[in-house]
């Protein structure tokens, strides 16, 4: 089975066996229906066991699955009349970020998201969903436009990170990301961010300063990729699995850390198993989110966002002053 993941192998093997038996009963003159029934019951239990006890590394694998639905996949299910807008009006059009205007249940909105490719050719065109500064500047241009026309903004986050390259540094990758964080703070319209795959560091956060941040169950959001963390901490990128476990990068972790508002449930085995059903899950959460936010005033929205980010972080105070006097 294409795109099969290591941890779900028992499931796929059992499925294969059942399919074989069914095929066999068609031609042979034996009744195996009770055996098949038994096996199907076992499959259900196995699926529940495996998919409900996923380790962080398993989730990383699902978040990175080549068939995992992308921003454009969800856009086609969630919105009507999507009109894509290209270009930062300064340097180029970065296809690692897509954006445009559309309607969500009749409400005009601006939609922006990281965009991976589905195959090698598309991945090269979209730089594997890793944006350059012009991508972030396009996103900001569209956000400012949304602000002018008082449209809510919906951001889909799905990137390994901002592209680490020579050209990106020359054109100010850091400035572009920083500017987005800075400007998103003052947007007078609702901003809802949804992490749909990998939320890789600053490159993800540059679309992430929202009033609400939601996360698909099997997506990740972290300061660095598990491989990167392993390389820094233990000088060994192959210890990524260990890093994934200690860094707390899964949706339940982020919920607990107070970063994420709602964990959007995924279809069994991951979003790629049924894109339409997954889109329906997102639809419901997004609708609830927007309904809540459209009733806030411009000032309330800005304050709401300020307070959201102000409240993130953990610290304590020493009982007495022991610093240098």
């Amino acid at each position: 089975m294409a795109g099969e993941l290591e941890f779900e192998r028992p499931v796929t093997e059992l499925k294969k066996k059942i399919a074989e038996l069914k095929e066999f009963t068609k031609t042979a003159d034996v009744d195996l229906s009770s055996e098949i029934e038994k096996l199907e019951a076992r499959l259900e239990k196995l699926e529940t066991d495996i998919y409900e006890n996923m380790k962080p590394w398993d989730r990383v694998q699902i978040a990175r699955h080549p068939a995992r639905p992308t921003t454009l996949d969800y856009i086609s299910y969630l919105f009507e009349d999507f009109f894509e807008c290209h270009g930062d009006r300064a340097f180029g059009d970065d296809e690692a970020i897509v954006g445009g205007i559309a309607k969500f249940k009749g409400l005009p909105v601006t939609v922006i998201g990281h965009q991976r490719g589905k195959d090698t050719k598309e991945n090269i065109r979209r730089n594997f969903g890793m944006p350059h500064p012009e991508g972030y500047r396009k996103a900001l241009r569209l956000m400012k436009q949304a602000d002018k026309f008082r449209r809510p903004i919906i951001c889909f986050i799905d990137t390994k990170g901002a592209y680490p390259g020579k050209a990106a540094e020359e054109r100010g990758q850091s400035e572009a990301i920083a500017k987005n964080l800075f400007e998103m703070a003052s947007l007078k319209v609702p901003v809802v961010c949804i992490v749909i795959g990998e939320g890789g560091s600053g490159g993800a956060l540059a679309l992430g300063v929202g009033n609400h941040i939601h996360m698909l169950e099997n997506s990740t959001y972290s300061v660095i990729s598990p491989e990167g963390a392993a390389a820094i901490l233990w000088k060994d990128a192959s210890q990524a699995k260990k890093a994934a476990e200690s860094m707390r990068i899964t949706a339940p972790d982020l919920k607990e850390l107070g970063v994420v508002d709602v964990i959007i449930e995924e279809v069994k085995g991951g979003a790629h198993k049924d894109v339409k059903a997954q889109a329906a899950q997102i639809d419901a959460v997004l609708y609830k989110s927007l309904k809540e936010l459209v009733n806030l005033s411009e000032e309330q929205l800005v304050n709401h966002r300020y307070n959201k980010f102000k409240s993130i972080g953990e610290y304590s105070f020493l009982k007495e002053f022991i610093g240098v006097k």
């Binding site: 009109f83 807008c85 290209h86 270009g87 009006r89 059009d93 005009p108 396009k138 449209r151 009733n295």
Partner: protein
């Protein structure tokens, strides 16, 4: 520099658009040869396809009448300031004669036609530049008519849509032409700050002072396929930098790649696509949703 653009365009005689009488009398007008693919086709069929070549999709130039007819709902156009005409502020030799000749030839009074109309029922203020009149160049009248159209849009609270086609500023009015860039931009800024929607559709050619002012100031900057869009002329650049420029230099597709355009839209889809943009900006949409 500007002369280069004129000569180039004169060489490219895209299409024969016969007048009503010529259509009936002169057999040559029945057929049109596409300058791009050289295929010969019925003029009637070409016009029916909005002057987009049926074979290679080359977009033949459209004058303002054809543009308005193809873009607005029928009978919805109401022209404003139709009778405004140019003076000769610098006493430029032969300028008045040239203007008169163009008025006669094109049956319009200046290089832009402005007014109000509807697109699939949605009201807009529209300005259409016409490259058959003085190469669509911008002098005092073009600047003033466009500014008044923007003010009209502001007054009515409707979107402003402009089709640009211009060689740039009009030489015969000197610095007054240059200042029209600022006049139109100042008006657009006020309109934009009041929440006005600006859609710019760049058609072949959009160059010089027009591309460096209102043509580039849309909330949505769109273009027709293959349109030449740029600031300085190709030959000027080549002579200055002493390099040969790429084939697609300053085409709509080149600009899209370099981040200057939101989209390149074929003429046959233009009305519907713009209608979608307009509907997303319809006032009151968000309030409706709030009440649900």
């Amino acid at each position: 520099m500007l002369k280069d653009i004129f000569t180039k365009t004169k060489k490219k005689k895209y299409a024969t658009i016969p007048s009503e009488t010529a259509k009936q009398d002169v057999p040559e007008g029945i057929m049109t040869k596409c300058p791009n693919c050289k295929k010969i086709m019925y003029t009637k069929e070409l016009v029916k396809n909005l002057k987009v070549c049926l074979n290679c999709h080359y977009h033949h130039s459209m004058n303002s009448k054809e543009r308005l007819a193809s873009f607005l709902d029928s009978n919805s156009f109401e022209e404003i300031n139709a009778n405004m005409i140019s003076e000769n502020p610098l006493n430029f030799p032969d300028y008045i004669e040239k203007l008169e000749k163009d008025r006669e030839k094109t049956e319009i009074n200046e290089a832009v036609v402005t007014g109000t109309g509807t697109v699939n029922g949605q009201t807009i203020t529209v300005a259409v530049m016409d490259s058959t009149f003085r190469m669509g160049s911008m002098g005092s009248v073009v600047g003033e008519k466009i500014t008044r159209a923007i003010e009209k849009a502001d007054e009515l609270g409707v979107p402003f849509v402009i089709f640009t086609a211009s060689g740039g500023a009009r030489m015969q009015e000197g610095v007054l032409s240059l200042m029209q860039m600022a006049k139109t931009s100042v008006a657009l800024k006020r309109f934009s700050d009041n929440g006005g929607l600006i859609i710019s559709i760049m058609t072949h050619p959009t160059t010089g002072g027009v591309s460096a002012s209102f043509a580039s100031l849309g909330d949505y900057n769109l273009a027709e396929p293959g349109a030449l869009i740029g600031f300085a002329g190709r030959r000027i650049i080549e002579q200055t930098i002493r390099e040969e420029l790429p084939e697609d230099f300053q085409t709509a597709e080149f600009l899209l790649k370099h981040g200057q355009l939101d989209a390149v839209i074929p003429r046959t889809e233009l009305k519907d696509k713009i209608s979608v943009i307009l509907s997303i900006h319809e006032p009151g949409g968000d309030y409706q949703w709030q009440e649900n």
